[in-house]
Amino acid sequence: MSRISKKAMSVVGILAALSMVLAACGGGGPSAGGGDTIVIVIPEDPPSFNPAIADAGYDYLVMELVMLGLADMDPQGNVFPELAAELPTIENGGVVIDEENWTMSATWKLRQDVKWSDGTPLTADDVIFTYEAIVDPETGGWVPGIDYVDSMEKVDDYTFTVNFNTIYPGYLLLFGGEQAVIWPAHYCDASQGFISWDCGRQPLSSGPYVLQEWVNGDHMTFVRNENYFEPGKPAIETIVVRIVPDESVRKTMLINGDADLDMWTTEAVIADLQGEPNVVVEPSQTNRWVMRIFFNLAAKGTTDPEATPHPILSDVRVRRAIRMAIDVDTISEEFFLGFAQPVWTEFFREPYKCDIPRPEFDPEGAKALLESAGWTDTDGDGIRECHGCETAEEGYVMEMEFITYSDYGEPLNLTQQFIAEEMLAIGIKLNLSSVEGTVLWAYSADGGIEQSGNFDMDIWDDGYSGTDPNDYLWSYYYSEAATPDTGYNYGRWINADFDALMDEAYTLDEEYRKELFCQMAEILEDELPEAPLFTTVNADAHSVRLQGVQSSTNDIVTWNVADWTIAE
């Protein structure tokens, strides 16, 4: 007996000793200090400092701390120069239009007082280097607008010209905005490639802060860049970005005063934070994200609205009836806690705001419209069937699947259920399902529901950043974007008039563009390929002591970090 027992004890002992040894080797201690420090809490590590790779949002957040682009956009939608000395325009001769070939070129002048944090001046060579790294066919990447660039030429150390293959209204933010920055030619290793070079994770700064330490999954520490070109800025000495995955823990840290900023604060957290003396919730001045219903005009599982039209939704009267029966105000108040603003057109905000009257909430009108479209309930089960409708066979039941994405959370799930109840009240049966965003939006080969047309109706949110809607409108409403995997015209809405207007919109003539966009707004209102319902909140919560934070739908909240201060 004793032989066994000694062994048993020794095994326990060895396990214990092993644990002690393993326990002793943890990660290294971080270092930051002083009262001149703010803490930003985010749920996951940024993939890198290069937002052009993964588009996670947290990469934009940290990129804004360390790197700059040629120009950026403020919350009101004004473009302002960052590394550029001034913005090239037609008026100052920086932009030259070739009407004959429908092309243009833009000549940029850089500030001459910008240095990388190692003291090397930032020059036109860095810009050309960045361009060449992005367009490299093997190791390159993609940033919005790069396809419109034909070539780039260096004029002198601080001047260069971008030649476009079209007239591109978004040219000011090509190497700027929230996605693109200028990379250091002398520091980044071009042979590692734009998408995977080490300088994407250990960046050299041209911006207000320098990355001092990054403990993966735990925190990042940034300290003031002594070589930053704006005198006296930034005011805050140290920024610690802590990775805190759980939303309620981040909220508690804000309330407790251990966190100074939590970005993309959700409706429920905003409601909880109201009345907290330490915390301010900063909503952005404009809204971007529009919750809308996508109608599939092609039969479920197909992508050709001509050959296989949707038996229910291909009739515009049905789409209108569905919109009429949705009580947007109740959804905003009950589920989005008053933070949702009703909208009914894509063109609801400056600079392209069009005068489209708000549709009425009118369930009785919706019923009448369905009756007149040939959808009636004759068997008394409360669900309409086709009796003389134009899009389906006699007796076809008005029943569809209604999908949303689970990642948004409770407000959207409740909205989905509420809409289904409202539809049932007018005789349309909706079967609900909720899927992950990666499944909903995946490419067709990956089983993406929208790209393969495998849906009837969906509800989710999108909207364009900044002030140039061209790319956004093209990808949602242009006929070519209805081809699977080329765009997001998931409803497969084909309209020649809209296409013609879209083709015209590639111009720098602002008055004319406004006119074109409002004509588009009319067509979209008549045809209703999507039903915009309301905007969702874009807000960031910060501590009372942190001053200067301005939430923006045009950029991430750290866009003006150099101007932030700590109040005593």
Partner: protein, 349 residues
């Protein structure tokens, strides 16, 4: 015994190979893909897709992808720039030569990603398991010794509760009490930190700071184990206590303390040790809820994030390495059992 071990190890290789095929297929065939949008953007732009597919190697048929994952592509010509002409050799070495590829999300080598998280998970989980064992063993002994006493009934009640309470609920509750409500009377700060492994601002190794950061995650993660191990030891003790040899030991006049610790406990521990060996894989895989709630940069979070974002290389590496750990832990449990109990024999010799 050597033959037995050799046979088991050989089986392990075959099993892992089979598992890798199944896991590779499952991961790739699950709906959704790494090319769908994340975070702020609902999509990635169509212009970017072809490039990404090529860079990720997703442009090839699945069997080819598996082959490249397994044995690499540095021996074959590949089309790098997307013009349809194969021009140079690939750079992947394949899993068999220790190259698990790079993360789709961060473009860092997968082993580097895992290497950054694994020590943190091992650190947390060994402390948790150790604490659980050290608390569970006395509880188990005492409640077996005093079966149906007030102590036993109380412990039994708490054990069932401990096994039933979900970690995420317990963790939030503990954060609420010890971080949000209770304050240190001297400094006025929160009694315990909300999470992380160390305080931001701590310099060098500070044992006190580390311990303070361990209390809540270890309590949250350990409660279930304490309940489970103590219940297990209690019943295994009760089995042993009624054996004949214990009566003999008592009959020959041994003091009760010696009977319990020398004869009963040491035998009752054998099944528990087997159980512990089977639980060893948790030291690798971590505890997802604890890591999320307490901002602990460990393997569970890495895996969870990779699953949500369809970061196939990371997902596969964690799954395969995890599977290897489970298989080896099972082997270890079997061997320990044979070593500790001479009645167990695996081969005839």
């Amino acid at each position: 015994m050597t033959t037995y071990v050799a046979r088991r190890l050989l089986q392990t290789v075959g099993l892992l190979f089979l598992l890798s095929v199944i896991l590779f297929a499952l991961v790739n065939l699950a709906p959704g893909g790494p090319l769908a949008g994340q975070g702020q953007s609902r999509h990635i732009d169509p212009e970017k897709v072809e490039l990404l597919k090529r860079q990720f190697g997703l442009d090839k048929p699945l069997p080819t992808q598996y082959l490249i994952w397994l044995i690499g592509n540095d021996w074959m010509k590949v089309d790098i720039d997307g013009d349809g002409v194969a021009e140079g050799y690939g750079t992947r070495k394949g899993v068999l030569r220790g190259d698990f590829g790079f993360s789709f999300r961060t473009r860092k080598p997968v082993l580097e990603e895992i290497g950054g998280r694994l020590p943190n998970t091992i650190y947390l989980m060994t402390v948790t398991m150790l604490a659980a064992i050290l608390i569970a063993i006395p509880i188990g002994i005492l409640s077996a010794m005093r079966q149906y006493s007030a102590f036993d009934i109380t412990v039994t009640t708490f054990s069932f509760a401990g096994q039933a309470i979900p970690e995420f609920w317990l963790g939030l509750l503990l954060i609420l009490i010890f971080y949000a409500w209770l304050k240190n009377p001297v400094t006025g700060d929160s009694l315990l930190p909300s999470g992380g492994m160390t305080s931001v601002g701590a310099v060098g190794f500070d044992l006190g700071d580390r311990v303070v950061h361990l209390i809540l995650p270890v309590a949250t993660g350990g409660l279930g184990w304490i309940a489970w191990y103590s219940r297990f030891l209690r019943s295994s003790m009760l089995d042993v206590i009624h054996q004949d040899y214990l009566r003999t030991a008592r009959a020959k006049g041994l003091p009760n303390r010696l009977v319990i610790y020398k004869h009963a406990l040491r035998n009752a521990l054998i099944p528990l040790i087997t159980l512990l060996a089977l639980d060893l894989p948790y030291i690798f895989s971590g505890a997802i809820f604890v890591e999320i709630l307490f901002s602990w940069p460990g393997m569970g979070r890495l895996y969870y994030q990779a699953a949500l974002q369809r970061d196939y290389p990371v997902l596969l590496a964690v799954l395969i390495i995890g599977a290897a750990f489970i298989i080896l832990s099972n082997l270890l449990a079997d061997l320990l059992y044979a070593y500790l109990d001479p009645r167990v024999r695996y081969d005839q010799s």
